[in-house]
Amino acid sequence: MWSIVGALWKVFLHAFRKRRTVLYPEVRPHLPARWRGRIILSRDPSGKERCVACYLCAAACPVDCIALQAAQEPSGRRYPEFFRINFSRCIFCGFCEEACPTYAIQLTPDFEMGEWKRHDLVYEKEDLLISGPGKYQEYDFYRVSGALIEGKAAGEGFDDEPPVDIRRLLP
């Protein structure tokens, strides 16, 4: 009996509490920098595409929403001929970002991707590619790795040691 009256009174007092709802389009929610939202492809500090078309993201993707085709520049740099993400399938798990050896594919704090047509949710490379490096501003895969391209001989990369003559027996 008294618990019923108490419940009524307590619920009534909620009329003077602050409302918990975030009025979304007017009030923006705070999204942390590591939020897993819209996927982008980044460029290295020199402005070239970071993606080396290794297919690791496509292999890691649990819903098979990434499709790409590798190609090679005359200079030796690899790049994707096309790079397609079907966002109507994507579950924003972030596995592609973890799989990527070059920090090329990244997830961003943006979730407003609504479209009227399902077809419009398929993003091509020009939709995905951004003009800057995104996260990991200084990182440049070809400077760090041992891969040989035009303009960078063996041993010239960051942290590289001069190449070893494997025919010499001296240490």
């Binding site: 619920v11 909620h14 409302r19």
Partner: protein, 320 residues
């Protein structure tokens, strides 16, 4: 000419007011539930979300009106109309102020009780004609609940009748000149309030439609406008019970400064809000608890209340 047209206008006005209140309650209920649950409710369509009512009505009008092939068709179609008719008929005897009423019936209170009893038929017929076991279970519960609670609903009002010495509603309001009947008839008021909740099948006593166990109870098979009629009937029932609480226990249109009809609407609105607060706060009892409460607690309490009132009236109020 004037004697014919004026009552017709009044009837139309009462009809429009009752239906508009029922429509407005859809919005009010959702906003108030939002308020008491620390959220907003519908606030996008129109100012304060008021046009939500319009949007909902357009939506429900364009839904498919499906009559199940296994149903008892004529009864299935008539059942939702019974709700509306019985509730609207009771509005005929409500005195909105000293002069604004459709009929000043000398058995107004009995008229109201009779029509609220007839409302049971809508639940019974809807559940039976649907040909659906959940609907049947819901209507079984509904009929049992409404019949049980009607017993002490009528009895709880007899104290008021004794004090006022009349079944006429405006006479009952006039009898509350000195003191509102909620004070001498407090237990009567409580009993009527609880019975009113059960009569309108509102939460926490919404066992006939208990959506967590019976899909939607007696209106499981109803869609479109027919479902809407059950809905409107429920909201008009809430308005009606609130109006009668106001009339019988809280002095009807009586109040200082403001005109009578304003006082009447204010008090009624307050009780409508209380109905919604009960929905926000209280859980649904079990079916056997509901029946035990009606027959073993409320019936004896109202009988004792009746006995005490009768004794006091006999002892202290001189006959004249």
């Amino acid at each position: 000419m004037r004697e014919v047209v004026l009552p017709l206008i009044l009837v139309a006005a009462v009809l429009v007011a009752a239906l508009a209140t029922a429509a407005g309650l859809i919005w009010l209920e959702r906003r108030l539930l939002g308020l008491w649950q620390d959220r907003y409710g519908p606030n996008r369509v129109g100012p304060f979300g008021l046009a939500q009512v319009l949007a909902d009505m357009i939506k429900i009008l364009f839904k498919e009106d499906w009559i199940p092939p296994f149903s008892d068709k004529p009864v299935f179609v008539v059942a939702p109309a019974v709700v509306i008719v019985t509730v609207l008929m009771s509005f005929a005897v409500v005195p909105f102020s000293r002069h604004v009423m459709v009929v000043d019936l000398n058995v107004g209170l009995l008229f109201f009780l009779a029509f609220s009893s007839l409302g049971v038929y809508s639940v019974a017929l809807a559940g039976w004609s649907s040909g659906n076991k959940y609907a049947l279970l819901g209507s079984l519960r509904g009929v049992a609940q409404m019949l049980s609670y009607e017993v002490f609903m009528g009895l709880s009002l007899m104290g008021v009748v004794m004090l006022a010495g009349s079944y006429n509603l405006s006479a009952i309001v006039t009898a509350q000149r000195r003191v509102w009947f909620v004070i001498p008839q407090f237990f009567g008021f409580l009993a009527f309030l609880i019975a009113g909740v059960a009569e309108t099948r509102r939460l926490p006593l919404d066992l006939p439609e208990a959506e967590s166990e019976l899909v939607a109870g007696y209106h499981t098979e109803y869609s479109s406008l027919k479902f809407g009629m059950f809905f409107v009937g429920e909201y008009m029932g809430v308005t009606l019970i609130s109006a009668f609480i106001t009339l019988l226990f809280f002095g009807g249109w009586r109040g200082p400064a403001l005109p009578g009809i304003v006082w009447f609407c204010l008090k009624t609105g307050l009780f409508i809000c209380f109905f919604i607060l009960m929905r926000a706060a209280l859980p649904r009892p079990r079916y056997d608890q509901l029946m035990t409460f009606a027959w073993k607690v409320m019936l004896p309490v109202t009988l004792l209340n009746l006995l005490a009132t009768a004794a006091i009236v006999l002892a202290f109020i001189p006959r004249g």
